[in-house]
Symmetry: C2
Subunit: 344 residues, 2 copies
């Protein structure tokens, strides 16, 4: 019999959004957690990651992962501290990262929990530059993008968790790197702080022309994480033998219907054929889940030595996660969006 039950604060999915999510799709609730059983750990969440892919989990349309059930806790990666352990591999005070969801506490049998990478400068980076988004950037760029010095790479959401790493790694490999971001502040940061060669504001009326001017040698690698009008502008600029890793399509996630015609479906196969282009979707943990060591070996030194910079957008309090997530889909965040759930 437990003497003091742990109260868990959690955010569950109440209803599936049509179009953009709204606060009414979420509910904050408090429930008592059961006692730990042998082989389990009790985790206290420190940082919750908010990422665009979560929009897909709110829908029951066919996707690459099962949807979150109604009244179930929202899916999400988080950094937690082990508060209590009845598991031989974990000790009280250990810091771990895992897909523990939008909640203040969780009980785990250890499956899928990883220790933070050795040498990490601060725990929340295990959700960003040294976590799923950083690994998405590194693996997609390296294995599908196959960048070569002297080539031109374009990536959108360039100040974000994935795009910022894609561009900086490509710069380290000797490419010309052009970012796309929303607004002058983000574009300035991308060029001045991250060292991209150029960054184009997708809100500009002449966005497509500006992008073309920034890519006088065409585009050899387009790292696709947004879709929509950015891809439309990229398509005619692609060079023969270009590579297009596809990790996300955030511009399309809230769409409720296809746009009006004409039907441009055939444009993409035609471009892939005539320019002999490789386009490939991937989900980092499904396709490269066994390659954390390769990722950390490359990235931890770069981050520690300041060769890869990062920016976090930290929201305080689990209760603010829904609003922050809604803003993420609108591009309101600036840097990797994390929710600080509790102090260590």
């Amino acid at each position: 019999m437990s003497q003091d039950l742990t109260l868990n604060q959690r955010i569950v999915l109440v209803s599936r959004p049509t179009g953009a999510p709204s606060p009414e799709n979420f509910r904050l609730e408090r429930v008592a957690l059961p006692d730990l059983e042998e082989g389990q750990v009790l985790l206290r969440t420190l940082y919750l990651s908010l990422d665009p892919y979560m929009r897909g989990r709110m829908s029951d349309a066919p996707s690459y992962a099962a949807p979150v059930e109604i009244d179930a806790v929202m899916t999400g990666g988080a950094v937690s501290v082990v508060q209590q352990s009845r598991h031989p591999k974990f000790q009280q005070g250990d810091l771990v990262v895992g897909s523990t969801g939008w909640q203040s506490h969780s009980i785990s049998d250890g499956a899928g929990l990883m220790p933070l990478p050795a040498g990490i400068p601060s725990p929340s980076l295990a959700l960003g530059v040294l976590g799923m988004p950083g690994m998405t950037a590194y693996m997609g760029l390296t294995h599908i993008g196959q960048p070569k010095a002297g080539e031109t790479l374009v990536v959108a959401a360039a100040s974000g968790a994935v795009g910022s790493v894609v561009g900086q790694v490509a710069k380290l490999q000797g490419l010309r790197v052009v970012g796309v971001a929303g607004g002058a502040d983000k574009c300035r940061y991308v060029v001045d702080e991250l060292g991209f060669d150029a960054c184009i504001d997708h809100k500009a009326d002449d966005f497509a022309q500006q992008l073309a001017q920034a890519c006088p040698q065409g585009i050899d690698v387009y790292f696709e994480n947004v879709g929509g009008k950015v891809f439309d502008a990229v398509l005619p600029l692609l060079n023969p033998k270009a590579r297009i890793p596809v990790c996300g399509l955030i511009a399309q996630y809230n769409a409720t219907a296809l746009p009006e015609g004409p039907d441009r479906f055939s444009l993409l196969p035609r471009t892939l054929l005539t320019k002999r282009i490789r386009m490939q979707g991937f989900i980092v943990f499904d396709d490269y889940g066994d390659r954390h060591a390769e990722f950390f070996a490359a990235m931890v030194p770069w981050v520690r030595d300041g060769k890869i910079k990062f920016r976090e957008d930290v929201v305080e309090g689990l209760e603010n996660a829904p609003e922050a997530f809604i803003g993420l889909l609108e591009g309101r965040n600036f840097g990797k969006l994390v929710v600080k759930v509790a102090d260590a």
Copy 2:
């Protein structure tokens, strides 16, 4: 001074078609050929290949190859006999294959001319199963399609030069193979003669349902050579980690405008992402031009031993090439379309 000038019969491009080509786009003409210079050979064409890619060369829209100029000889691969040689590597009577165009004779400095593969059962096969179409099938399937025993492959134009080889090679590698062809005769041939597991008539009203029924385990490799409604029906059937080599889009070649809406452009990137699919365009001689030895080593024995069957649709007389080519784009041929220009 030449005593008897060689008269060359040739077909030139008169005008660029809008939509489907018509006979008025071509002109048959006779011109005298100049004397041979040192280092040249005079070739007499025996068989001319007609292939869908030629439609692209008639247009001046951006494509993977420069268009045929107005009043220039139509591009095309052919088997020829060396009629006269002032080139040290060629002797009178040699049979060669090369891109010598829609004409009865040609003069060459030897660049791009290849001897027929050793062991070829008949010369015209160097334009089909043992030529560009066969190599397109073999290279795209092997290097991009990466077929594995037990998987399901779909290929359209299944009785044609490329599709028939794709399906038969995949059968030899242990895949379930479903063809798509136009009409009951072609479908019967594909199943009964070529040994495909099934073949669906794309003219059937319930084509998409029939295709789905023929692919109960989904589709792992879609070898894309047609586009259009076949690809529309394939898209929802694709399995995670599917591969789509793209060698042609014949259904779209005569299109003059995009279809009416809605705009389905985003469907393809979304499918590639959520199912982690690789789609890659290729042009066989650009991407695999140095791999003839690999191709012949695999295919010549298969053809000689009857493990890969083939069917030719032979049209007599160069003057009939335009009409035959127009029919090719409408699917009127049955088997690899070649024009017999002269007897050996």
